[in-house]
């Protein structure tokens, strides 16, 4: 196991990216910080800037107006980059799939490493998704996928 993966598995810093969501998944992500679920006891903390983040928690369908900004946020993230799509909309577009302002879902724009479906997924499911992703890394970091 490389030093990077070892330290990554100890303490994960997540950045929350909302690109055209109804805000429910976002509230459930914030709920993870509250005393009931308390993400911080796992060493996971929410950071304010993507430059400090290990994992992006992405929500929303990605509207056309958000598209260039989503790409920019992903570029600003330091390697190794991991993206978790949280919620039905981020996974597949959900009920808004057929709208004219849809530029996503996320995996059409940036590489996604894990999907947490639900509308919204419960905080337990979100934590489970992030932890499973980190465990699955065991020793290897994801190769950089190039998307057209």
């Amino acid at each position: 196991m490389s030093l990077t993966t070892f330290s990554l598995k100890r303490s994960i810093w997540v950045y929350h990216l909302s690109a055209g969501s109804c805000n429910n998944c976002d509230i459930e992500i914030l709920d993870c910080l509250t005393p009931r679920f308390d993400l911080e006891r796992f060493g996971i903390c929410l950071v304010g800037s993507v430059r400090h983040a290990d994992v992006i928690l992405a929500t929303g369908i990605v509207t056309k107006k958000c598209l260039p900004r989503v790409k920019r946020v992903y570029e600003q993230m330091p390697e190794p980059k991991l993206v978790v799509a949280v919620g039905g909309c981020a996974c597949s577009g959900g009920i808004f799939r057929t709208g004219y302002n849809m530029a996503g879902p996320f995996d059409k724009i940036i590489p996604v490493n894990a999907y947490v479906p639900g509308c919204p997924p419960k905080p337990e499911a979100i934590i489970d998704g992030v932890v499973k992703l980190i465990q699955s890394l065991d020793g290897k970091l994801p190769k950089k996928k190039v998307r057209g």
């Binding site: 055209g20 805000n23 509250t34 107006k65 958000c66 709208g99 302002n101 849809m102």
Partner: protein
Amino acid sequence: MAEKRTIIPIGPYHPLQEEPEYFELFVEGEKVVDIDVHIGYNHRAIEQIAQRMSWDQVIFLVERICGICSTSHPIANCNAQEDLAGVEIPERAKYIRSIVGELERIHSHLLWLGLAGHFIGYNTLWMWVWKYREPVLEIFEHITGNRNHYAMMRPGGVRRDIKEEDIPYLMKVLDELERKLEMLTKAALDDPVLAARLKGVGVLTKEDAIKYCAVGPTARASGVPIDVRKDDPYAAYDLVEWNIITREEGDVFAKTVVRILECLESIKIIRQCLEKLKKVKGDIAVNIKKMPPGEGKGRHEAPRGETFHYVRSDGSNNPVRVKVRAPTYVNLPTCKATVPGESVADAALILASIDPCYCCTERMMRVVDRRTGKMELDGKDLIRLSQEKTKKLRRELGI
């Protein structure tokens, strides 16, 4: 002489706001002189998707307009469809609708209170309030099956009943919540730092509230006593006793007080509805076999204000038009009246005080020096400024 103005960015991705939106603050030194709001980041083409859905599918679509006021859009849309069809829902359904609507009001106001606490640097308040909010979400999961997006409403009534054996559990949770809320009210009203930080900040005058057609706690805190539940009663709001909460000052403190007291009124309403549910039996929905051609207008007092839906039908199974107007749409422009003249450290708090829900609004804050085009301050600096101001006030007050 060239004007020295700087613009401060808040957005599109900013830790203060969960949703992307874009505020441009034009400042001179420490004072904000103008503000511009750019939205469009959350525009998900809901009105257009609705035209291809059937009447009952539209309810599931509009529920997902907003996660926090998740049931207010279904209630407004059901009111509009029932207005179109000319039906009245059964009495039991009325009580259940009011119960779900008021529980949502409590959860939404508590959410806002926690976030407001975070903005001013009281993270303990944030954690405590969101902890008190959890039992409300548990009630939702118990009676509807989900913590959010409850799927309780259908045109003609409600989709699920509240069982008799659940009522004592609900009453118990409400009693506990009421005790905590009363403690919170006293703590908030007595705290000298909160008073110094929030009183007189971001005042929205009554004239401006009327000019911008503001609704909800934003308007009620400025002395405009409008509330759809009293003005245009629906569901069980004219079958139970409760009061409209208003304040005259129009500042952030007034908005906070209005919201906390409204939570207590909501508990009063829910208790009365639960008592009535024990006595009123019967169906929970009427079947609307076919939607006649015509138009319907429905509204609901969401936690942020009046939510208005307009529907038009040509007699077929799909609506010709669904128009959604969320309360934040009319409350957001009031920032043009409340933010200029205030300091940069207060700007983010004033914007948060209207309890903006951008996902309802459409569906996106930045400072740049006008002369050089360079970014002077970013979003993190703004939270830091806001929290530092609180610390400074505490020192001055000797706390």
